[in-house]
Structure formats: C-alpha cells, structure tokens
C-alpha cells in the first residue's frame, strides 16, 4: 500500500486566487463520480468555474462505460463546470483543449512531455496516465453547460495485472511522489489559459497546431479505429473541426468518436 499525501486545501485556494476557479473548489473524500455530481450541480445552476474533486470514486466513468481505476488518494479525480456561450457544435473544442491543457500542466509540474492520443488521452511510453471525459447539456441552438472530467494517475506505486499493461502513474515513471495539490492547481490554471484562448477562430487554428505538435497519433500512425464496425489505417492529420482523418486501403475516413489504438 502507498502512503498518500492529502490535499492541502488552503494551498490550493491560495494558488487559485484571481483565477476562474477562485473560491469555487469543492473537495469530497469519496463520491460515486465527480462528473455525475458536477452534472447535477450544473443542472441546479452552479456557476462557471465550479470544481469538484475527490480522493476516491466508487463509480468513476470513462468512455463506453469503462471505469477509471481509482486507488484512494493516489489519483487526481476532478470535474469542472464551464458555461461558454457557444453553439453545441463548438463544444468539441473543449474536449481537444482539455487534453492540451493537461499535457502542459504535467510538463510544467513534473517535466514529463506526454504523448497525446487523439482526442485527449495522455500517454507515457504508450501507457495511459491521464484521461478526459467531457459531458455537455445542450439544445439545438446553445450549449447550456459542459462538465470536463479529468483523471490523472499520480501516486499509484503499481497497477493490478489486468490494467498494468496499459496504465501508468507519474510516480511509476519518475520514482517519486508528487504533490496533487500543486499539480491540480497547475491543471486548472492551464485549463483556464486554454479555455480563454480556444474559442476564437485563431484559437481553434492554434489548438489544432498544438495538438499536432504534441501528438504522435495525428499523422503517420498505424491505428485501429473502434468505430463503424472497426477498421485499420494510417492517421493523416486533423480536419478543420479537429476530427482525426485515417487513410485506409480503400478511402479516407473521419474518426468521430474516441477509440483509436496503435496497431
């Protein structure tokens, strides 16, 4: 068992002063899923920048019902409520910018340049260290709110057999424990920076370039796509909306959902 360093809430609040999240962070020792809670809170009307984080999720969710492995106190498990005044179609930029923001925060805090697996998984040596799941509430004309859920494996000393092959933690990669308080503060600040910049035409272009520059998956990677019955091909850049293009033997295809794996 690992000894875990608890969050220092005073330090976190101090670090977030004058940010979008100042005075809006809420810690729970345990919860089912921070995303579920944040979606409920957002529906009830909490303001933009509300942050919910926990030491332990009992029903954490990933894409396709995948559970995010959660050892108490080892990971950062956080959900953030945003209320940008944008069209639902523009909300996809939130998904892309979240991955870039986490990449930058981990680089700045731990000195590790993760690989970004489209659209927003972060990998170290092909093993996942950070995942993002975004949920939105929208009608046809307008986004009501978005909840960005982020899980980072920080201080896990190891992973059980069935996921050891594709998951890693910052501690496993560096041999030392990291302050979750410091990293969470960096993640939120980085997210705010990306968020402020992303939702303009210039910001969208810059974001596409950033994704491409930090990801080995965007171009020339042989992948299996778990979509539309499953197919294989070689990645061939992002389209103007940020979707991944994959060239197969027959045609050029566009990946809409996640589920891209190196093959």
């Amino acid at each position: 068992m690992s000894t875990t360093i608890p969050y220092d809430l005073a330090e976190l609040n101090a670090a977030l002063q004058e940010s979008l999240f100042s005075g809006k962070v809420h810690f729970l020792p345990e919860t089912g899923s921070t995303n579920t809670l944040a979606m409920q809170a957002a529906t009830a009307g909490v303001e933009e920048g509300t942050v919910i984080f926990t030491d332990q999720q009992t029903a954490g969710r990933g894409r396709n019902g995948h559970n995010w492995h959660s050892e108490p106190g080892a990971a950062i498990l956080v959900s953030i409520v945003l209320r940008p005044k944008i069209l639902p179609t523009q909300s996809l930029w939130l998904s892309l910018m979240a991955g870039v923001a986490m990449h930058d925060a981990i680089l700045r805090t731990c000195g590790i340049a993760c690989d970004l697996r489209w659209p927003n998984d972060l990998l170290i040596e092909r093993k996942k260290v950070c995942g993002v799941l975004t949920e939105i509430s929208a009608d046809a004309e307008q986004l009501r709110f978005a909840v960005i859920g982020i899980g980072v494996n920080v201080n896990q000393p190891s992973f059980p057999g069935e996921i050891a092959g594709f998951a890693t933690s910052l501690q496993m990669e560096t041999g030392k424990q990291w302050s979750r308080t410091e990293l969470l503060a960096a993640m939120l600040k980085s997210l705010e920076t990306q968020y402020r910049g992303a939702l303009t035409t210039e910001g969208e272009q810059a974001l596409l370039c950033r994704v491409e520059s930090i990801s080995s998956y965007v171009r020339g990677k042989r992948v299996h796509v778990d979509e539309a019955g499953g197919y294989d091909g070689v990645t061939d850049g992002l389209d103007a909306r940020g979707f991944l293009r994959v060239r197969t033997a027959e045609s050029m295809r566009t990946v809409l959902s996640g589920g891209v794996r190196e093959s």
């Binding site: 396709n64 639902p88 892309l96 659209p119 939105i136 909306r241 809409l256 959902s257």
Partner: protein, 159 residues
C-alpha cells in the same frame, strides 16, 4: 455549393450509411433521403438535373412526394409529429453504456427533459433530451451509427 461538392457530400452520406440529411446554407437547400434523392429547392436547375445518376439505388432522382416507395408514413400521418435533431456531429448511442437497456423505445411516453440518447464525438458525451412531452413514434437512426449535425433522431407525437 458546386456539383463536385454535392457529389462528394452524397458519396460521404452513402459511405457513412446516413439515411437522411438536410443542409441549408444561404439560398442553397439540399435534402437527401437514401434511395430517393431530392435536391435543390433554391438551386439552379442545371445542377439539379445531372444528379440523377448519383442516386444510390440507381433510381433517377424524383421528388419525394411522388415516390411510391417513400415509406409507409404518409404525409398526413407525419403531421403534428415533432422531430428531435442532433445538435452535433457524432456517434448515436441508444443506451448509457454498451449492453444496458435503451433510454427509450418507440411507444414510450416521455417528459420534456427526459434523456433520449447520447451523441458522442471526441470523447464528449451529449445527452439528448426531449424538448417536449409525448410518445416516441420512431427512432430514426441505429445504435452506433454516425450522425450529422441536424440529423433527425426521433419523432415524437406531442401530448
């Protein structure tokens, strides 16, 4: 939109197995329904005519209303039905996770705000809600199918 773009669009719709598609941009309006092709209410006629060979079934394009095979739902039966459309491009999921029961099925009574399905794109989940109460008449796309912006997902007979 020129003819080449239109051709590419239609080829894309065929490749993605998209049953129905509507696009409005400026004074150009395109509506495609698989098997039958209806084009260009406001487009110049000379672009509409050569579209016939593109029809995936090989049947020449003809106005939807005149097609004998345009479905069992007559215009009068469709009257008063409310159509829920997708606000984003993505993949349609009928249930919250694989293997779990669908959010709704035809015949179900739904309330305004009730979740009907999820559209996913780039690991972003959009729970689509009923914008009014009523009875689900039809689900218009299949589980796991890609959908375009504005594509009809469900028809609902309002209370």
């Amino acid at each position: 939109m020129n003819q080449k773009e239109l051709r590419e669009l239609i080829e894309f719709l065929i490749e993605k197995d998209i049953a129905e598609f509507e696009l409005e941009r400026g004074d150009v309006k395109v509506r495609v329904k698989r098997g039958v092709l209806v084009a260009a209410t406001a487009m110049p006629l000379h672009t509409a005519a050569p579209l016939a060979p593109l029809s995936p079934s090989g049947v020449p394009a003809e106005p939807l209303m005149e097609s004998p095979g345009a479905g069992k739902t007559s215009a009068s039966a469709d009257e008063g039905l409310h159509v829920v459309k997708s606000p984003i491009v993505g993949t349609f999921y009928e249930s919250p996770s694989p293997g779990s029961p669908p959010f709704v099925k035809p015949g179900d009574k739904v309330e305004a705000g009730q979740v009907l399905c999820i559209i996913e794109a780039m690991k972003l989940m959009n729970e689509i809600e009923a914008d009014l109460g009523g009875e689900i008449v039809k689900r218009l796309v299949n589980n796991g199918q890609p959908v375009e912006y504005g594509q009809p997902l469900f028809s609902i007979r309002p209370h």
